[in-house]
């Protein structure tokens, strides 16, 4: 386990930063918003993720990926956070790839992992059913029906739901265990309602009305399907935290740049101690978040059994710090911080939305307490 990036990781981060600054700057998100993009992301950008070799970051070489692990995935997400890049990377290349890795059969892996690596598919994870993330509250049912299943239930705010060509639905089975099920969003009995959110993403609600599934829709490769589900959530949390960290870092950098250039009382406002102390405190919070995110990601790669606590802690901290960084950023920008013209408001919005997914700081702090036995 190492905190310092190795050479490969540095190269990955540098190329991600350069590429995203060029191909997915904040203006790209503005364009998606202003054009009312139906999916909330650009398919062109998604294809180029494959060309960069990122889509298969968690896919083995046998299946056409680069198998670089969660630490690498986190670096890409952190850079995405910096430019607010909207892409199915987290849902498809991280969550769906992890789901197949943990719970897929050989046949399912051989079919889907190469497509993920090639950037040929967008896969969304249909998980939450309530207003707040609650991984235990799963009422969607997959009832055994002959060789297959019948799926019924409702899912809310499925990320990339509007643009997905495959869903992985979290459902309870007859023995009350959690299972992961592949569902074609165009199948009979599936209805979709798109929800435009404050951060200009387009998640969707899904209703499953006695949807008939083949037996091989079930990801049946895991010995313990419930445990695989928990590990999927943890991996997702660490990776979502990495994006939030990037959001926080750029919000902070933008703010420092602004206060260094804006003058009042004849001097740069950055010379005022009231702002300096807030900035220095934020830097401290950023350092803490950065350490936890890195720790969670590298632990997922090297000692997965130790990872859960680090993942929830990282998710809690990154959520809190990204929201704080953007909120402080608006305050330190003064009036222009409230305008659409400046980016800081977009960071504030994304920090809120990214923080909600897989549990905010309050939820994950509760998990920390539970895992720590108090």
């Amino acid at each position: 386990m190492s905190f310092v990036l190795n050479e490969d990781e540095q190269m990955l981060r540098d190329s991600a930063r350069a590429f995203l600054a060029e191909s997915a700057p904040v203006t790209a998100l503005r364009a998606l918003r202003d054009e009312k993009s139906p999916t909330g992301f650009s398919s062109e950008l998604w294809s180029s993720f494959a060309e960069m070799g990122w889509s298969g970051v968690l896919v083995s070489e046998d299946h056409g990926g680069v198998d670089m692990g969660y630490a690498a995935a986190g670096l890409v997400l952190e850079e995405m956070g910096r430019t607010l890049a909207s892409s199915p990377f987290l849902s498809t290349s991280v969550l769906a790839a992890t789901a197949f890795n943990l719970a897929g059969t050989d046949a399912q892996k051989s079919k889907w992992l190469p497509r993920i690596a090639a950037g040929e598919t967008v896969i969304a994870i249909a998980l939450d059913e309530r207003a707040r993330h609650n991984p235990d509250h799963i009422e969607t049912r997959a009832k055994k029906d002959g060789n297959g299943f019948v799926l019924s239930g409702k899912k809310r705010f499925v990320n990339e739901g509007a643009g997905a060509d495959l869903l992985i639905v979290v459902a309870r089975m007859d023995d009350d265990q959690i299972g992961l099920f592949m569902v074609d969003p165009k199948a009979n009995g599936v209805s979709r309602e798109d929800r435009r959110t404050v951060d200009s993403h387009v998640p969707a609600d899904f209703t499953f009305d006695d949807v008939k599934l083949d037996g091989d829709a079930f990801l049946s490769g895991a010995d313990d399907s419930d445990a695989a589900y928990r590990r999927l959530l943890d991996a997702g949390r660490a990776c979502q935290a990495a994006e939030s960290l990037g959001v926080a870092e750029q919000a902070f950098d933008d703010t420092i740049a602004y206060i260094s250039e804006r003058e009042q009382f004849g001097v740069p406002i950055s010379s005022f101690q009231g702002l300096q102390h807030r900035a220095a405190h934020l830097l401290g919070e950023l350092e803490l978040a950065r350490s936890l995110v890195r720790r969670a990601l590298t632990t997922l790669d090297t000692q997965p059994s130790q990872a859960p606590l680090w993942c929830v802690a990282a998710k809690a901290k990154a959520t809190q710090v990204s929201r704080l960084a953007a909120a402080e950023g608006i305050q330190m920008h003064g009036g222009v911080g409230m305008t659409d013209e400046y980016d800081i408001g977009l960071y504030y919005k994304r920090a809120q939305a990214a923080g909600e997914f897989l549990g905010d700081d309050a939820f994950n702090a509760g998990e920390v307490a539970r895992m720590s036995g108090y």
């Binding site: 190492s2 420092i256 830097l283 401290g284 950065r290 720790r295 720590s372």
Partner: protein
């Protein structure tokens, strides 16, 4: 020797030489061995442990052997630390000589000064205190006025220091003294080593809110400091002082991060838990969870900074950031301990020797963000030297 062999030998040696009484967590101040001429050992075990470790140079594992250290590589020192931790071994010696003066002497001292002063630090024979702050010079330390006049082979020193921790128990003091009256204020200070066993040096304890008197006013009335005991050049004192402060900050941080009571244990002690052992107040539990998260984050950050330092990215002004974050965290931990203990935390004096310990620790923790540069001063430093914001 390979690291694996070193580990094995170290383990065997510790097993054979660390007295049982030194294999328990530190329970109170008296369990910490500070050393010095006037030191009375809390137990025979404490004495034996210090002697054995000092003989190997392991009170200061990475210092050169000729100066009383162990001559270990960083990796070996880490192994030693791990193996000590594995058997719960206490640190054999803690002192300002180790944390502060030692590193400064290693960097700025002459070979003769190192030979004279470092081995007694390593063996715990001489106890040092730090004479920086004055009544008129706290955060604005550079305005200090204690004066030294060169007279032949010595300086005659006059003035007053304050908040001198453990001055009444110390043998020598490293002091900042204005020796160059005409130089600009940053260039007029020298770093002098002064023997306190002389009529010109007196100390007067100050009582604190924790009920203890760990620090003093220190008075110099025609005190003598030999010129050969000046570290660095005349007027170089401020540079040395700043170097030393960064070590002091690192020391305070590792102290702050160092265990002690935590609010979960406190809640069990006060009975504020449900039948299944969960903290019964949900809001307090939430606050404790956030503390746990920041504690994990802080530990991870310390490791990261160490790793980065090994890769040549110096800690530098980031020590100020860690000092600020670490000490604020420690204050929070103490506050939550008190909340979890409720009325029980208020106990001050009673039959048991341990009465008041938690409250004392809580009160002591308030000083963490004052000593070694206040939180505000450290934030100033971060703003200026890490973020490069314009100076006031």
């Amino acid at each position: 020797m390979s690291l694996e062999n070193f580990r094995k030998e170290t383990k065997d040696w510790l097993e054979a030489n660390c007295p049982q009484g030194m294999r328990q967590p530190i329970k109170s101040e008296a369990d910490i061995c500070w050393g010095g001429r006037n030191w009375t050992f809390a137990s025979e075990d404490q004495k034996v442990w210090l002697e054995r470790m000092a003989e190997r140079g392991w009170t200061l594992p990475t210092w050169p052997k000729e100066y009383g250290g162990g001559g270990l590589s960083k990796e070996e020192a880490f192994v030693l630390k791990e193996e000590m931790k594995a058997i719960n071994a206490r640190s054999p010696l803690d002192s300002f000589g180790i944390w502060m003066l030692g590193p400064a002497l290693l960097k700025y001292g002459t070979h003769e000064q190192k030979l004279e002063f470092l081995p007694p630090i390593a063996r715990g024979e001489i106890r040092w205190c730090q004479g920086y702050s004055e009544p008129g010079a706290g955060s604005d330390l550079v305005s200090l006025r204690t004066k030294g006049v060169l007279e032949g082979d010595h300086y005659t020193v006059n003035g007053q220091k304050v908040w001198t921790s453990y001055a009444d128990k110390s043998d020598w003091i490293f002091a900042l003294v204005r020796t160059e009256a005409d130089a600009p204020k940053y260039n007029g200070i020298s770093f002098l080593l002064i023997d306190m066993d002389q009529p010109g040096v007196t100390t007067k304890p100050i009582k604190l809110i924790s009920g203890k008197s760990p620090f003093c006013e220190t008075f110099f009335d025609d005190a003598k400091a030999l010129v050969k005991n000046r570290v660095g050049e005349a007027g170089q004192g401020w540079e040395i002082a700043k170097y030393l402060l960064s070590h002091e900050r690192a020391g305070i941080v590792s102290e702050a991060a160092f265990g002690g009571l935590n609010p979960v244990t406190a809640a069990h002690q006060s009975g504020e838990v449900d039948a299944d052992g969960k903290m019964s107040d949900p809001i307090l539990r939430g606050d404790v969870a956030r503390l746990t998260i920041d504690g994990l984050a802080f530990d991870a950050t310390m490791r990261r900074v160490k790793e980065e330092a090994d890769h040549g990215e110096g800690v530098g002004a980031r020590a100020s950031l860690l000092k600020y974050m670490g000490t604020e965290l420690n204050k929070r931990r103490n506050e939550l301990n008190m909340s979890a203990l409720g009325y029980d935390g208020l106990l001050w004096e009673g039959e048991k020797e341990s009465d008041g310990e938690v409250a004392r620790s809580w009160l002591r923790s308030r000083a963490n963000s004052i000593e070694g540069g206040t939180s505000e001063i450290n934030l100033n430093i971060v703003a200026k030297r890490v973020l490069n914001l314009p100076g006031a």
